[in-house]
Symmetry: C2
Subunit: 254 residues, 2 copies
């Protein structure tokens, strides 16, 4: 109860798909976690210990979700941090969510959230524990009509979904919002960008507007659990479900 | 460990001065807590139960600090919140910090932090648990040369100190930064604004720049623990310690 994770959201986390008892893409998740710790000045947890704990927890689980939290550790009252306090490691295993398989094929419906993402370059991209904006955005709807919600920043640029990254297909090109002012840089997003580049598909990170979404040939979401879901509807507007989302999903083994 | 306070910073808090076994200004703290819960859609905790717990915890302590955390409660994985989950109440009692008494009289030195506050009107003013910006700002210095650090927003307006509100005296007028885009609306700030108005001192909430600080006749900080501290130095620049800060402090009983 004295942990700075609770008091200030002073930490980072990872959400990792588990298959056949193994945390998938462990190296990438670890690397992002370490990078987040460095950017926030949190002591990096010992990689070997963390991996041992993760593998022990996941062993024997065919399909599950591993959530990893690393905080700046326990503290006294106040924002100042004591020197030499070890980071706290919290590992939790959750049931694999039962996504409808047609999310992959026919795509999903998303709404545009009214909650905006604040702009702060010093925290942008980090998967940190200050997630009130995502929480309040997700609280905007509770019917089953929409699977996800798109979030804009306070300058009205489209950034991400509440728990996924966004991609646009424009002709032969792949676009995804730049995450230099807010948003979470996802592992699946990173894989998609690398994979597309390797296959000669022109990719870029850009400032994206709602008008860009309307003009796009395809839209899709990505995260480490869903892989890739095409978007078939934004609000009440239909969006074409095209071939590129499926093609990239297959190339990633989903 | 499944509490949304830890996972997302999904909650609010209060830091309350305790004197003679009593949490001071209980009504105002409770009111701000309830308002924060309403803005975030968190179930408001039962006021009578919370007050009972607080008074029981504080009883017998001459001088202490009561910290109160209310979160959206426990959750499954993911940002979506289950209906009907009760809010979590966490109460902690901490030793009273030993502030040097000359902070009141001769004033304190503050630095200007390089960490910026992000702008998000939907969260502005709320004393919520997403405090990574304050944490990283406070980590910028660890020598004793500065007692506090001033924080600017990403548009370079001066907003607050890492753990206190800021006031400027300009002639006969009292100014404090507007908190409609970021920052925490402090209880002591509220008392100062009300007290000054009642005594006929013109007060206003304004957009404040570093140039405004340089032009000010007096500067001071406020929060529920320190009361009012005049600022005698911003970075390497001396600031006059004038009469108004002391006058307001006395009128508030500090």
């Amino acid at each position: 109860m004295r942990d700075r994770g609770l008091h200030y959201g002073d930490g980072v986390f990872e959400t990792i798909a588990v298959r056949g008892g193994e945390p998938l893409r462990w190296g990438r998740h670890l690397s992002r976690l370490q990078k987040g710790c460095r950017r926030l000045g949190i002591s990096e947890p010992d990689a070997a210990i963390l991996e041992g704990e993760a593998r022990t927890l996941c062993a024997g689980y065919g399909q599950a979700v591993l959530k990893l939290i690393v905080t700046r550790g326990v503290g006294t009252r106040g924002y100042a941090s004591s020197i030499g306090v070890p980071a706290t490691r919290i590992l939790g295993l959750y049931p694999w969510p039962s996504f409808p398989s047609h999310n992959n094929s026919r795509g999903i419906a998303v709404r545009v959230c009214s909650t905006r993402l604040g702009i702060n370059p010093s925290l942008a991209g980090i998967k940190h524990l200050n997630r009130l904006e995502n929480v309040t955005a997700r609280l905007e709807w509770d019917d089953g009509a929409f699977e996800e919600g798109l979030m804009l920043d306070v300058d009205e640029f489209v950034i991400e979904a509440t728990a996924a990254n966004l991609f646009l297909v424009a002709g032969e090109r792949l676009l995804t919002p730049r995450l230099d002012r807010c948003g979470v840089a996802g592992i699946m997003r990173e894989l998609i960008l690398e994979g597309a580049s390797a296959r000669g598909i022109p990719v870029s990170e850009a400032r994206v507007t709602l008008a860009d979404l309307e003009a796009a040939d395809e839209l899709f979401l990505s995260n480490s659990l869903i892989g890739i879901w095409p978007i078939r509807q934004v609000g009440q507007r239909r969006v074409p479900v095209g071939p590129l989302a499926g093609c990239i999903r297959e190339s990633l083994g989903y």
